[in-house]
């Protein structure tokens, strides 16, 4: 599903590469943690998969397609197959939970009728039934992240990328979000999560890939934070 081959990424003006000759493969339906200290290069992986940054060397394959060679006008269609969740939620403050999710559908050309059918369904799935018409500031942090997950998942993407999704949440709420991601993973969606939350990694017991100074130092099935 995801294949990185000898990927090196050095940002302009950086003294050393963020990712240095990284090779890793992720199968369909896997749940993978990328862990490591701040600045280790783990967030760069998310950006590479989204085609937000280009590697200096190496190839990135997602869902059988070479992302590095992709023409820029094909990127939007490519991103529709990937859902994405961030630490800061990235919700639109002047739209309700329903509207935030519906917006993601409408801007890729889905009709309002489709939105009316699938948005309540996905909000129910993430546990926000009854709170569709609340604005982000009327929701708790955990609930806001649920809206973000609903938005990422409403298109039934093949891959869900999560960049420190629990970074702004307290431990109990974090665990609830993790249960949600786990449920999404059980529907067959590949989940790639970048985190430095050791509690969560230790509880989930999923594949752990540890990165340090741009290199993979550990790749362990059913791993712990260590």
């Amino acid at each position: 599903m995801i294949q990185l081959e000898h990927v090196t990424k050095t940002y302009p003006k950086a003294s050393r590469p963020s990712l240095d000759e990284v090779s890793v493969g992720i199968e369909k339906g896997e749940f993978v943690f990328f862990i490591g200290p701040s600045g280790s290069g783990k967030s760069t992986i998310i950006k590479l998969l989204l085609h937000e940054v280009h590697p200096n060397k190496g190839r990135v394959h997602v869902n059988g397609r070479d992302v590095t060679a992709m023409r820029s006008w094909k990127i939007p269609a490519f991103r529709r197959q990937i859902g994405c969740v961030f630490q800061d939620f990235r919700l639109l403050p002047n739209r309700t939970a329903y509207e935030n999710v519906a917006f993601a559908l409408e801007v890729i050309g889905k009709t309002k009728a489709v939105a009316r059918r699938v948005v309540p369904e996905v909000l129910e799935l993430v546990g926000l039934g009854g709170k569709e018409h609340r604005y982000p500031h009327e929701l708790s942090g955990g609930e806001q992240q649920r809206v973000a997950v609903a938005r990422a998942f409403v298109n039934r993407p093949l891959i869900l990328l999560a960049d420190e999704p629990t970074g702004n949440l307290d431990p109990d709420t974090s665990i609830e979000i993790m249960r949600l991601l786990d449920r999404i993973n059980r529907t067959g969606t590949t989940v790639v999560m970048v985190t430095h939350d050791s509690n969560i990694v230790n509880q989930m017991r999923r594949r752990v890939i540890e990165i340090e100074s741009g290199r993979i130092v550990r790749d362990q099935a059913r791993g712990v934070y260590g």
Binding site: P76, F78, R79, R80, R90, L92, V107, G109
Partner: protein
Amino acid sequence: MRLKYVMSEVMVGLWRNVTMTVAMIITMAVSLTMLGASGLIYTQVKDMKAYYYDKIEVAIFLKPDITDDQRTSLEGALKADPLVREVIYESKDEAFKKFQTMFSDVPAVVDAVKPGQLPESFRVGLKNPEEYQAVREAYVSKDGVDQIIDQRNLLEKIFNILGAVQTMALVAASVMAVAALLLVGNTIQVAAYSKRREVAVMKLVGASNWFIQAPFVLEAVVAGVLGSIIGFGALALGKVLLLDGSLQELTDLLTPLSWSKVLIMLPLMALAGTLVSSITAWVTLRFYLRV
């Protein structure tokens, strides 16, 4: 649905920043009015040249003491000249009759001139009115020639004035166009900034580039079209109030400016306004949206 979304985004965008929108429309309108005016002057001068150059002639006035031989040889030389299209001899009597009809409404002037006082002349039409100087050099020192007058000289002065006005209008149009350009760029930047969250989400979920950019570009285009309509209104008002109004007498001297010519300026101005604003918007977005 998507069209409705884009259009409502455009209206919201224009309204959110209404002072800037008004400034954008006004500068665009002034610039396009100047452009339209200079376009009108250009076609007008072209028409006038075509109209008058056919009719103007070089007048070769003859000395009172010219002999018949001199006159005959002069006429022969003119008729054989490859530069000359036609030669008409005007006798003293004909000159006097012409004078009488020209000043028929001023009897005092007519009375002051006796038949035979006005000189006889050859009225020479040139194949190419621009070659006046060659004709003048060939004939000015011939025996019996008093003086040679080119009617084109007078017209040239008018054309030069109109040309200068046209250049001024073009300069004003370009200066205002630069101001309009900067305003469009700034408006787009402000719009892109105020919608940065929406744009970030749209990019994230894979909205197509045209869908992200269209509302911004259309915002500028709507302003450009409104500007061109206002500019056209100003041009039409100028025709009614100036050319057909206070400058009526000047207009009569020149060839009349028809409404059809003014109307042609509307699509031209709209096209110019649309192109300038959309290209500026698009280029600005390349830098500030990075889609």
